[in-house]
């Protein structure tokens, strides 16, 4: 763990990423200390103010401080991203490992299922799932998790299949190890590197997706602020508080820069072979 951090710190991109990410995570954790106002504090009479000393980035229609809301919104994005990826990774990895190890019928049906999910454009899939579950933090996380699970399934399957070709799996089989032992004791630990890399990349995708769903009005419930919903809100007030359209977007970008750089650095460390497949 510390070794990984040390590595990231000495990696050119990794260090910048780590700084961005640490910054935003601290912002999320210390939101109550950092934010000058409560996220939902309505200051009657200070509605739609531009930048000022009291409100660095102005206020919204209800007189809420945009900076404070942006700060608090980091909590939604970061936790939704992390939660969604955790869920998606667990489901997807399990499916992928089982499919890749068992092969045959189980493999093709599980993979057709995962194909079916990937065939949906992610945001639309999210919209459909949110339509079923109703909007809300957990629901959105679940929707994103489902949309992400094929990525993990495919990756885990590919790893399981390539690991299965390695002789140590055969060795384990010859010792009389059961399938379950092979999957969980051997393949899973060896898949961990690439999966962690995928997960770190996925957190970025998940956060992006959360903000997209919120932008479409399918995200967390008001009054809880989220960046996507703030961005869509901001467009109405371009004339009054133009900076409103910039602040949440910038915060979102900082998080994504952080995550992507850290993920790239992790990939260099944990999964060097896949470097050239950076596109997938």
């Amino acid at each position: 763990m510390t070794e990984t951090f040390a590595y990231l710190w000495h990696h050119r991109g990794g260090r910048i990423g780590l700084i961005c990410l640490t910054f935003m995570v601290s912002v999320a954790v210390f939101a109550p200390v950092l934010a000058p106002y409560g996220p939902n504090e309505q200051l009657s009479g200070s509605e739609l103010m531009g930048m000022s000393a009291e409100h660095w980035f102005g206020t919204d229609l209800l007189g809420r401080d945009i900076l404070s809301r942006t700060i608090y919104a980091s909590r939604v994005s970061l936790t939704a991203g992390a939660l969604a990826v955790l869920l998606g990774a667990v489901i997807g990895t399990f499916i992928g490992l089982v499919a890749g190890t068992l092969g045959g019928w189980a493999d093709s049906s599980l993979m057709r299922l995962s194909d079916s999910i990937s065939a949906f454009p992610a945001i639309l899939l999210g919209a459909a799932i949110v339509a079923i579950l109703g909007p809300g933090f957990l629901q959105v996380a679940v929707a994103i998790a489902i949309a992400q699970s094929p990525l993990f399934a495919r990756l885990a399957r590919a790893i399981a299949m390539s690991e299965a070709r390695l002789e140590y799996i055969e060795a384990a089989e010859s010792m009389g190890a059961s399938k379950a032992r092979i999957i969980f004791r051997h393949i899973l630990p060896n898949a961990a590197g690439p999966l962690v890399v995928q997960a770190s990349l996925s957190v970025g995708i998940a956060i992006l997706m959360e903000s997209g769903l919120s932008f479409l009005g399918l995200g967390v419930q008001p009054p809880t602020p989220s960046w996507g919903q703030m961005l869509s809100d901001s467009l109405r007030f371009l004339d009054f508080v133009p900076v409103y359209a910039v602040v949440p977007g910038a915060a979102l970008t900082i998080v994504l820069v952080g995550i992507n750089l850290v993920a790239d650095a992790l990939r260099d460390k944990l999964d060097p072979q896949s470097k050239q497949k950076a596109g997938s």
């Binding site: 390695l166 010859s174 009389g176």
Partner: protein, 675 residues
């Protein structure tokens, strides 16, 4: 002889984020017109880097310094890419180890072969290029060149690809060819073909040839002069004959002694202790001194780097004690006693009857009958793809045979499932070819070795006791218990694999090419270890190997396989000395000789490569490559029958027809009956 290519005091280092690593340290060599120079050394000794650096082919991370790089009188030090481009492919060209990766997969063979001409004389008309490509293919003996030029690399077999690569290197008539392990990736029979092809061509064209190899046999077979490299330096340079008779450097000598020979069965191999240094500057003084049998910890070896000094005509060595080395006859350092032969019991521990296995259209095994007795070692040889590994897998119950029966001790694997099958499997264990991929890289050595016992639900204390025992048995120190495989060398990993296989005291242990990924010196350690184990345990062993020398060294009996069948089986000395199947003959004759004096022109070198296992010829599968095949061979599958004398069986209609077999040496080489 004029120096064609001369390099003096070449030093190469690499920049990396960990700092600088010196890889080649002061190498000098010259090659004269028409001369064949061999460059020998263990993996990582800097052979490839030396040649690539001398040819301006190293990337930007290399720091290259030299006092002289002169190619046909032209000074190439600090030459630009453009200047090198004018020389490369024109005056000097290269053949690499791996024929698949050295061909561009998406370009037609013909284009690639004629490319040196195209880039050096851009005005050459297309038709001429095509014609040259065809001519080259013809010259490297690829049939039907007109068709072949327009094919892609994947449509060629490994041997054909390497021929094409050689054709490519020669197409623009260079004066020097550098061949970097050109046959390592090939089967023995094909290797023999390529070696003789290169020899013929270089003689015909009066080429200077630099042959990089780790195989002393190849050197014995084909070069005039040898340069031995160790840790980025030249430790000895000598005419080839002296190398085998009077090596002047302890390392050269150790290499020779660690090598099992095909010709005769010898005593214990002389394993070189320790491992080569990781870089040229990692060891002070003589880089070999920590492993040297002559150094005896003498001060000078540790502190002073020996210079290359002349010890005989044309022979130079970099050792402080060459006199001492030369005074000791070769083989004297070897412990001559071989482990005493074990009592082979009549107990059959593994019994295969009529086993067939097909993967779709591929018939990997076509009816194999085989017994292994308790206490014996059965060697199995055969070219790549003939079904050796499949046989091993079937024997272990990892794959079910399509037909036939597998019995381990008294248990028939057929019909067993789940837990029962898993339990039965434990009586057969395997040691794999690749010591890296056969160990789970995320487990400590302790848990790797303990795993079979954990699965067999042993008690903790028993596991710990047995683990220590096994570590000692395979000669690994306890300090490795908590290490990960990545922290060990190939030979050490292979020991771990062996320890794991022995953990449950199986009745049968199958070694699937356990040494082919290892350097000779390490290979000797493993072979010796096997000798010891055979003495101490009473399992039945099956040993699969490409290297006939190793096989002869370890086996009590050998089986020769061809296309999923056993074609000859019997007592090891008998089979090696009196092979009765033409294929066995081909294998033995294809193996490189043990000494330059044994070079001969009449060796039986079989043509072509084995047919596709998805498309096995009727009758005797070998008939398409067999010079003495007849109509009968095409019609009837020869049975594996006992020969008139000896403890020996062969599957050839003419196994007892010694006259006919004698034709193999001088008779016609083309198959008598077309395929």
């Amino acid at each position: 002889m004029t120096a064609f290519f001369q390099v003096e005091n070449l030093r190469v280092g690499f920049r990396s984020f960990r700092g600088r690593k010196q890889v080649v340290d002061g190498v000098s060599f010259t090659v004269a017109a028409g001369e064949k120079l061999g460059v020998v050394g263990e993996s990582g000794s800097g052979k490839s880097v030396t040649m690539l650096a001398s040819m301006g082919l190293l990337g930007s991370s290399a720091i290259i310094k030299a006092d002289k790089i002169e190619l046909r009188g032209r000074d190439m030090r600090g030459a630009s890419g453009r200047q090198w481009a004018q020389v490369l492919g024109n005056e000097i060209s290269m053949v690499f180890q791996n024929p698949m990766t050295s061909l561009n997969p998406s370009m037609r063979i013909g284009e690639q072969i004629s490319e040196p001409i195209e880039v050096h004389s851009p005005a050459t008309p297309r038709a001429d290029l095509q014609a040259t490509a065809e001519r080259m293919l013809n010259e490297v003996s690829i049939p039907n060149p007109a068709l072949r030029v327009s094919q892609y690399p994947h449509e060629f077999s490994g041997g054909m690809r390497q021929r094409a690569v050689i054709g490519m290197a020669l197409s623009n008539a260079p004066a020097i060819v550098v061949a970097d392990e050109p046959t390592t990736a090939l089967d023995v029979t094909v290797q023999a073909q390529i070696v003789s092809l290169m020899g013929d061509l270089s003689t015909q064209r009066d080429l200077a040839l630099i042959l990089i190899t780790h195989d002393l046999g190849l050197v014995a077979e084909s070069v005039d002069r040898v340069m031995i490299m160790y840790a980025g330096r030249v430790v000895e340079e000598t005419p080839v004959a002296n190398l085998f008779d009077s090596p002047a450097h302890p390392y050269t000598r150790a290499l020779l002694e660690s090598r099992p020979a095909t010709g005769a069965r010898r005593g214990r191999l002389n394993a070189i202790p320790g491992f080569p240094p990781t870089s040229a500057d990692a060891v002070s003084g003589c880089p070999f001194h920590p492993r040297c049998a002559f150094s005896k910890d003498r001060e000078i070896c540790r502190t002073t780097r020996p210079a290359l000094t002349e010890v005989a005509e044309g022979q130079r060595a970099a050792c402080h004690f060459t006199d001492e080395v030369l005074a000791t006859p070769v083989g004297a350092t070897v412990q001559s006693e071989k482990t005493e032969k074990r009592a082979i019991s009549q107990d059959v521990v593994l019994n295969l009857e009529g086993v067939r296995k097909s993967f779709g259209a591929v018939n990997a095994l076509n009816g194999v009958d085989l017994q292994i007795h308790r206490g014996e070692t059965l060697g199995i040889a055969g070219e790549s793809g003939c079904g050796k590994s499949t046989l091993a897998r079937v024997a272990m119950g990892l794959v079910a045979p399509t037909e036939g029966r597998v019995r381990i001790m008294d248990t028939d694997l057929a019909g067993l499932e789940g837990r029962a099958l898993r339990a039965a499997r434990r009586n057969v264990q395997m040691v794999f070819q690749d010591p890296t991929s056969s160990l789970d890289r995320r487990m400590t050595i302790r848990s790797i070795i303990a795993e079979p016992m954990v699965i067999a639900k042993w008690k903790k204390a028993d596991i710990a006791r047995r683990t220590d025992e096994l570590m000692a048995q395979v000669g690994l120190g306890a300090q490795f218990l908590d290490a990960y495989p990545s922290e060990m060398s190939g030979g050490q990993r292979q020991r771990v694999g062996i320890a794991r296989a022995l953990a449950l005291e199986p009745d049968v242990v199958i070694f699937d090419e356990p040494t082919s990924a290892l350097d000779v010196s390490i290979q000797a350690q493993i072979v010796n270890l096997l000798d010891d184990l055979r003495a101490k345990t009473n399992a039945g062993y099956a040993f699969i190997a490409h290297d006939l020398g190793v096989l002869r060294h370890v086996s009590d009996r050998v089986a020769i396989m061809y296309l999923g069948r056993i074609v000859e089986i019997g007592d090891v000395d008998e089979v090696f000395e009196d092979p009765r199947h033409p294929y066995t003959r081909a294998l033995l004759d294809s193996a490189p000789v043990d000494h330059p004096d044994l070079r001969r022109d009449d060796a039986f070198k079989v043509e072509g490569a084995p047919p596709d296992p998805a498309n096995i010829p009727s009758g005797c599968a070998f008939r398409t490559r067999c010079p003495i095949a007849t109509e009968k061979c095409a019609q009837t599958v020869p049975a594996l029958v006992a020969l008139s004398q000896g403890n020996h069986r062969a599957a050839c209609h003419y196994a007892d027809d010694t006259e006919r077999l004698a034709q193999l040496t001088d008779g016609p080489k083309a198959p008598a009956v077309p395929g």
